[in-house]
């Protein structure tokens, strides 16, 4: 286990190093001069030179890369050309909002996906199975931005069940201001007992979270179904039948845990995917997350901000993969022996 862990860690570090290099390369390729963008169109040549100096744009490329890496290590992710804030601070505000959205979506996905996966496996080739396969396939095939628009129009616009957009009612900021701990609004509202903001966030969260949840729910349902069907065809399921256990309890009490192992690794994959997929949903619901930040940064060719978002998401992806590898050992005792 320790050797396996060390190797996985080494691999992850290599990936991170590669990601940093790639991000740097993409940053150099973005059109437009960051100095001009920073100093503004009316800048004097002196101001421009100062900006170039500040960003180290006159240094040779290898030196720029070394400086970039050194800055990253010291926690300096550059300064956004648009907000003029350190990118790290911007991300520190935007990322928790995305995490809140994707986290809620994944909770929904697991809560719906696994039970309907069990249902499909239990009634394999019967109508419930067909229904689950059909809907889960629809869920992974639906364009999220379109689903977001449609849900917004129907449930927020026409029916008025949920708010149209935003993270919570901003008038609450003056009546019951939120103390920030984690920057994840719903968590902060919960631990500080700020119920008005908590309920308002929950209301705002439902629609976008459901939309983001569509893809992971479908994937999890399909994977859970396949893994459960495979498990219930194994020798041990026959023994459990011979012991008098019914099909449902074989699936939920014996097959589910080993079947969760592939589902878990799927969740890691889908987590990173959902953060990026969430970008599109954030745009529709005006959710103050990474997606909106990325979209605005792209519009204004804000190179450091784009690089920051890219790097962050890649890091999240790599970390998620690593965590799942370790979790797998907990869920599946066979993996521990490796």
């Amino acid at each position: 286990m320790a050797r396996y862990l060390a190797r996985r860690l080494g691999q992850a570090l290599l990936v991170v190093a590669g990601v940093v290099m790639l991000t740097f390369a993409v940053m150099r390729l973005v059109p437009g001069d960051p100095a001009v963008a920073f100093a503004g169109p009316k800048a004097t040549p002196e101001q421009l030179a100062a900006a170039r100096e500040r960003f180290g744009l006159d240094d040779p490329i290898p030196l720029q890369f070394v400086n970039y890496v050194r800055d990253l290590f010291t926690g300096d992710w550059g300064t956004s050309l648009r907000t003029r804030q350190p990118v790290r601070d911007d991300l520190y505000l935007a990322f928790p909002a995305s995490l809140e959205l994707v986290g809620a979506a994944l909770v929904i996905a697991v809560l719906i996906g696994i039970p309907i996966g069990v249902l499909a496996a239990r009634y394999k080739t019967k109508f419930p199975d067909f229904g689950v396969r059909f809907t889960s396939m629809l869920a992974v095939s639906v364009p999220v931005f379109w689903l977001a628009l449609a849900m917004q129009l129907v449930f927020a616009g026409h029916l008025g069940w949920f708010p149209i957009a935003g993270e919570y009612d901003s008038s609450l900021d003056s009546t019951s201001p939120l103390t920030l701990w984690t920057n994840i609004t719903i968590v902060d509202a919960l631990i500080t007992g700020n119920w008005p903001i908590f309920t308002s966030t929950l209301e705002h969260l439902v629609l976008p979270a459901l939309v983001v949840a569509a893809y992971p729910t479908g994937m999890i349902a399909q994977m859970a179904r396949a893994a459960l069907i495979e498990e219930s065809g194994q020798d041990h399921a026959r023994l459990e039948r011979a012991l008098g256990f019914g099909e449902t309890s074989i699936l939920t009490r014996f097959a589910l845990r080993p079947a969760l192992s592939p589902v878990l690794s799927l969740i890691a994959l889908v987590f990173a995917y959902s953060i990026v997929n969430g970008f599109l949903v954030e745009a529709v619901f005006n959710w103050p997350g990474l997606g909106r930040y990325a979209a605005e940064s792209i519009k204004s060719l804000d190179t450091p901000a784009i690089a920051g978002v890219t790097l962050l998401v890649a890091l999240v992806y790599t970390t998620a993969n690593l965590i799942v590898d370790l979790l797998q050992g907990v869920v599946d005792p066979r993996a521990r022996a490796r």
Partner: protein, 308 residues
């Protein structure tokens, strides 16, 4: 033709038309409709794909089944032409990434050692970027257009094929007939071309069909963000974006293009799933020998990392 080649060809011929369940057959039927309708768009579209200031934002009717858009173009016509764009993107992306990915993967798998290590680590780096994100970054660098979309998505898609074909090629490289060829002094490129490549193709084809839906969704998302196809090109994602401000009053301008994306992605996904099931050793015991490379491939796709 060598024996291995014939075997690989036979494998394809025997398995491809074999669609086991009605669900997959349904998907295949949908795809045929979408493809035929898109190809025939110039001939079957009810109207020319041009603005008509006299017919702005007409709701669906007998004359305009799906209504007309903000500049008076028939939505059905736009959708048919948009199908060409989407299918072109899907085919181009998959072709580019499969050729690049399989080449690298087969070399990595056959060579092994440090060559494999280097290629696989680079692949890992690219895999650490979710497709849409790297596409976003690249689409910013390049001028937004259909070709940009193709390049941007292909840049994130090839690693999957590298990983898949590397694992298959590695297993084939250890087989007896490859050893035999090596001992006879057959040069490595020839061995790869004759034995390793043909036998790696089946899992890659399955993966291609599984991926087509994802490519179409990603392309639509990029166009929706304004980073892909540009006016006046007909593209479904772009149509949704252009219509979204009118959605509350003119539901058809957003609903139908979205449905077109949904149906096409759905159909490809269903076929991909059906093909994978058909080639899965567990779904038919008698076909185990044939399905061997696929099971290695399926394991590689399912797993989230390279198991080395």
């Amino acid at each position: 033709m060598t024996a291995a080649e014939t075997a690989a060809g036979g494998r394809l011929r025997r398995t491809l038309p074999r669609i086991p369940d009605r669900f997959a057959a349904f998907g295949a039927a949908l795809i045929v409709i979408v493809v035929v309708a898109s190809i025939l768009a110039p001939w079957i579209a009810p109207y020319p794909d041009e603005p008509n200031p006299l017919e702005l934002l007409r709701p669906p009717s007998a004359a305009h089944w799906f209504g007309t858009d903000q500049v008076g173009r028939d939505v059905l016509t736009r959708i048919l032409y948009g199908g060409r764009t989407s299918l072109f993107i899907a085919v181009a992306v998959l072709a580019v990434s499969a050729v690049a990915g399989v080449t690298l993967g087969v070399v990595a798998g056959y060579a092994g050692g440090w060559v494999r290590d280097v290629i696989m680590r680079v692949t890992d780096v690219f895999l650490a970027f979710p497709a849409l994100l790297l596409s976003l970054a690249l689409a910013v660098v390049l001028q937004p257009s259909v070709n940009t979309v193709v390049l941007a998505i292909a840049a994130t898609w090839w690693p999957w094929y590298t990983r898949l074909s590397a694992s298959v090629a590695a297993s084939i490289a250890t087989r007896g007939y490859v050893d035999a060829a090596r001992c006879l002094g057959v040069p490595a490129p020839l061995i790869i071309l004759r034995h390793v490549l043909p036998n790696s193709l089946t899992p890659v084809l399955v993966q291609l069909s599984l991926d087509a839906g994802g490519v179409i969704l990603t392309a639509a998302a990029l166009s929706y963000l304004g980073l892909g196809a540009q006016e006046p090109t007909a593209e479904w994602g772009l149509m949704v974006q252009q219509g979204q401000t009118l959605f509350t009053t003119n539901w058809w301008v957003v609903t139908f293009p979205g449905l077109a994306i949904l149906v096409t992605a759905f159909a490809f996904n269903v076929i991909g799933e059906g093909l994978r099931n058909a080639l899965d050793p567990r779904s038919g015991g008698a076909r185990q020998e044939r399905a061997k490379p696929t099971s290695a491939g399926a394991a590689a796709t399912m797993s989230t990392r390279v198991v080395k």
